[in-house]
Symmetry: C2
Subunit: 190 residues, 2 copies
């Protein structure tokens, strides 16, 4: 392979994560990431605003996947059916080839207070996006908020199972299972 | 009243909030807060670690109120009954005499990104505390998470209604109403 390898963005993401795992997030500079990827700092900044962005640039894609799936669900779909479609749509971002990267990303995020807080904000923003999409389907306000929060619990639970090294199931299957468990859990609330 | 007025903590909280509303949170210094309260900076720092703490020092009380109520609920109480008891217990912190202060605090927090993020973290921590307290009652993991999230939606909704100037109901009554609406909403999910 010559110096014009394809997909500089992927190479930067891989290089950044390797360095975060090896030397810690705080100790890693953008210059080192670019160097490890065999690219320039200028190229880095064409793709990411800063090094934190490498870990969080997927948020827009996730938001679009969730929102499109909820809006595109059949008119007959119940709020939780629409949430189920949204979670299954995430498997585009959480395919088997992404699992190792996502797993390492998660260990970097969890080891760092600021990154954990950013992750939490991301999660809240995505939950709000799901609730808005449900309201756009005509779902009543409180039901939309509730269904989106259940979707958020389902997502976090399915995600934790998916990144577990002992797991071999795909994300869509885990999301379906988890949401079914939550449907049953709603019956144990009262 | 002489210089030995009672309750310096309350005076500092009142003075700080007045200054945040008048001059903005960022422009207000601890020295100005102490001066407005007729106290010294040293007294301020005996009560609060920094000016942000004035707005968030209530978190421990809220956590204790929620947790004690869940743990102390009758053995026969369902997960949502225990959550209902927890939300009603918050009325100790959200009494009528506190409403104006809380309302102003809310406007300061909402106008400032860092404070909004801190508020979100606080909310997540309190939701996790409710889920833990439910697990301590023997509630199954996923049911506990779900009930705590429903409690969190109920709280945020009841709180928004309580600080609404058009509202005249007490917090406990609003919490009960909102949780009842959410119980009904769970039936519209599927």
């Amino acid at each position: 392979m010559g110096r014009w390898e394809p997909n500089p963005r992927e190479r930067l993401m891989r290089a950044a994560l390797d360095l975060f795992v090896e030397h810690g997030y705080d100790s890693t500079t953008v210059a080192e990431i670019a160097e490890r990827a065999g690219l320039t700092k200028r190229t880095f900044f064409r793709h990411f605003a800063d090094k934190r962005e490498v870990l969080f640039s997927g948020q827009e894609l996730l938001s679009r996947l969730l929102t499109d799936a909820i809006i595109g669900a059949p008119g007959s779909a119940s709020p939780l059916d629409a949430i189920g479609a949204a979670l299954e749509a995430l498997s585009v971002a959480f395919g088997p080839e992404r699992r190792e990267w996502v797993r390492q990303r998660q260990s970097v995020v969890e080891a760092h207070t600021d990154l954990r807080e950013r992750e939490l904000l991301k999660s809240t923003t995505l939950t709000a996006a799901m609730a808005d999409a449900l309201r756009n389907r005509g779902v009543e306000d409180l039901v939309a908020n509730l269904a989106a929060e259940i979707g958020s619990v389902a997502w976090r639970t399915a995600f934790a199972r998916w990144v577990d090294p002992a797991n071999e199931q795909g994300f869509a299957e885990l999301a379906r299972q988890t949401l079914d468990e939550l449907r049953k859990a709603t019956e144990a609330l009262n």
